[in-house]
């Protein structure tokens, strides 16, 4: 199952384009993340794939067939809403059975067949014992699993998830993330999910599509988009990145001293002994950031920048990061872009 989106445009009003010419294609069985800040058009794109929004221009192809004019009802694409949108007056069982009962008469299943379809799904999402509960009596994580089972019940050609972990607290979120990845690998179902959380996208997805202001900035594996960002926006959105000012360029990025814009991630800044090569700076402050140490450095002109070093490194570099120590800064890796606005 592959979805291809060609030149998709969706406008709200004459000037506002939620998505503005997006072309991308999913691969069979992959888990694709649509990542972007709020207002980037990622949810609109997801809804357009589902048939919940119609495009103003462009096409949507499902396995090569033009599905642009099909309604949501005809597309057979599973959709899990951000707030789950469970049917509040129906039990967990009936929520999951809804799609089976809504079938046209000639495809209608018997009560026993419905049970045989619903119960294994409830087992899959570990909700079997809650079959008779109403959605109001479930926790957020449980509701999400019910919503997932409900979407899977129609044997969708593609599964779409809108901010699947957005409404959950951090611990549940991490558990569900791992569980969802395992489930995806077991089902082998092509899945597209929307998130604004870079970490989530990089950790979970096979490929990440980064959207900004309705346009696709880059599409690639987590390693590709993180290690070789295509645009300054991608570099800055996937973790911190310092735009290297021209006056520091030669000293900080000695191997690429000219041309375009250079960006450096905090963990790619190397701390060298003072007096040698590199940009002279003074350590002002250090702070723990989990597994890493954040080092705040003051340049000679008074500006401050941040570097990040691994905890193990820190021991090695101990003498070098005490506040007040002089160091030299050099970029281990820099990302270069043509002159950006």
């Amino acid at each position: 199952m592959a979805i291809r989106i060609e030149g998709a445009v969706k406008r709200y009003g004459p000037k506002v384009a939620a998505i503005d010419g997006v072309t991308l294609e999913t691969r069979p069985g992959e888990l694709l993340a649509l990542l972007g800040p709020s207002g980037s058009g990622k949810t609109t794109l997801l809804r357009a794939i589902a048939g919940l929004e119609f495009l103003d221009a462009g096409r949507i192809l499902i396995d090569g067939d033009d599905a642009t004019a099909l309604t949501a009802r005809e597309r057979r694409i599973g959709f899990v809403f951000q707030n789950y949108a469970l049917f509040r007056h129906l039990s967990v069982f009936e929520n999951v059975a809804f799609g089976l009962r809504a079938r046209p008469r000639r495809l209608r299943l018997t009560e026993a067949e419905i049970r045989d379809r619903v119960l294994p799904l409830l087992r899959t999402v570990q909700m079997e014992e809650y079959a008779e509960r109403k959605p109001a009596a479930l926790s957020g994580g449980q509701r999400q699993r019910v919503a997932l089972a409900r979407a899977l019940a129609i044997e969708p050609r593609l599964l779409l998830l809108d901010e699947p972990f957005g409404a959950l607290d951090a611990k549940v979120r991490r558990e569900l993330r791992r569980w969802l990845r395992e489930l995806h690998d077991r089902l082998g179902l092509s899945t597209v999910f929307v998130t604004h959380d870079q970490e989530e996208a990089l950790e979970l997805a096979d490929r990440v599509a980064i959207l900004n202001q309705g346009r696709l900035e880059q599409l690639g594996t987590p390693h590709e988009v993180y290690d070789s960002p295509a645009t300054p926006f991608v570099a800055e959105f996937l973790g911190d990145a310092l735009r290297v000012p021209p006056r520091l360029r030669r000293a900080l990025v000695p191997d690429r001293p000219h041309g375009g814009l250079a960006m450096v991630r905090p963990h790619d800044i190397e701390l060298l002994p003072p007096g040698g090569p590199g940009v002279p700076a003074i350590v002002r402050r250090t702070a723990s950031r989990g597994g890493a140490l954040l080092v705040e450095l003051e340049l000679e002109d008074g500006n401050r920048i941040e570097a990040e070093i691994a905890r193990g490194d820190a021991h090695e570099a101990e003498g070098r990061i005490a506040p007040g120590t002089r160091v030299g800064l050099r970029a281990r890796i820099a990302h270069l872009f043509d002159d950006a606005p």
């Binding site: 919940l52 009802r73 959709f79 809403f81 949108a85 049917f87 007056h89 799609g99 809504a102 109001a136």
Partner: protein, 281 residues
């Protein structure tokens, strides 16, 4: 919630008592007193006279006609109201605001005017009058006209009680139903309406109360033929004009009873809706 108000929000005692007293007096004089009068007058000559007044053939005919009119106009407006509310609350289309405004029209139009409009259209001198006469169809001064007038004045209630509830619930569940392959009718019957069931009941209750109690519009199109085109409210007026006070008040007490039952059901529904809303958030 604690029972007592914060001191800063508490009015000085005399003012508070004056306000409460005034409100009670108001309700007492304008709402409770008339009800008490209706009931005491109805029973002024004792039970037997009361029962006799209701067993009179004209009274029975009026009660039956009132029930028939309600039995036709309530289901019709149930269907119309659900359709209108669903369109207004769950869909975007050109002219939605206009539709919402038109639904409310019968509330602001005097019922007498509503009745006259139907006379103007279907009456002997009306637009369709000659045609109807040629085909021997009677609408004005007959049941069809009274049903039409009642449908007109009770049109808004179902839609008005459904729209706010349906709108508050958003369209996500409907969208979910669509992605699961459900068509419009399935979605309406299995998702939108069950979610708004209390609002629907509330609308039907108000529609019914108004349909049974309507005077003005029905009066214009009825023709006041005793035993044939008299509804209960019209019958009350006739008896009253004839100085049959026990009869008038006996029939009026039935209408008052309807009002009280409606009120109790309405309070119960409102409570349930508040509880439901609390669960949701």
């Amino acid at each position: 919630m604690s029972g007592h108000t914060r001191p800063a929000l508490r009015d000085p005692a005399p003012l508070a008592w004056a306000l409460v007293g005034f409100a009670l007096l108001w309700v007492g004089v304008f709402l409770v007193l008339p009800l008490v009068v209706v009931v005491t007058e109805a029973f002024a000559r004792g039970w037997p006279r009361f029962i006799a007044a209701l067993q009179e053939p004209d009274a029975i005919a009026a009660i039956r006609l009132t029930l028939v009119i309600a039995a036709i106009s309530v289901p019709v407006n149930l269907v119309l109201g659900v359709a209108a509310a669903w369109a207004i609350a769950k869909h975007e289309f050109y002219g939605r605001g206009l539709l919402a405004a038109f639904i409310d029209l019968p509330v602001s139009v005097s019922p007498v005017v509503a009745g006259l409009v139907f006379v103007l259209i279907f009456g002997a001198q009306g637009w369709l009058g000659p045609w109807l006469q040629r085909h021997d169809i009677k609408i004005i001064f007959a049941l069809p006209g009274m049903v039409l007038a009642t449908i007109f004045v009770t049109l808004p209630y179902v839609a008005r009680s459904l729209v706010p509830i349906m709108r508050r619930q958003g369209v996500e569940e409907e969208e979910a139903a669509a992605t699961l392959g459900a068509g419009a009718v399935t979605t309406l019957l299995r998702v939108s309406l069950p979610n708004a069931a209390l609002g629907l009941l509330y609308g039907v209750l108000l529609t019914n109360a108004r349909a049974m109690g309507e005077f003005g519009a029905v009066s214009v199109v009825s023709g006041h033929i005793r035993g044939e085109t008299n509804t209960l409210p019209l019958h009350v007026e006739i008896l009253n004009n004839e100085y049959d006070e026990v009869g008038a008040f006996a029939c009026a007490s039935l209408l008052a009873l309807l009002a009280i039952v409606t009120l109790v059901l309405k309070l119960w529904l409102e409570r349930r809706m508040r509880l439901r809303a609390g669960e949701g958030s």
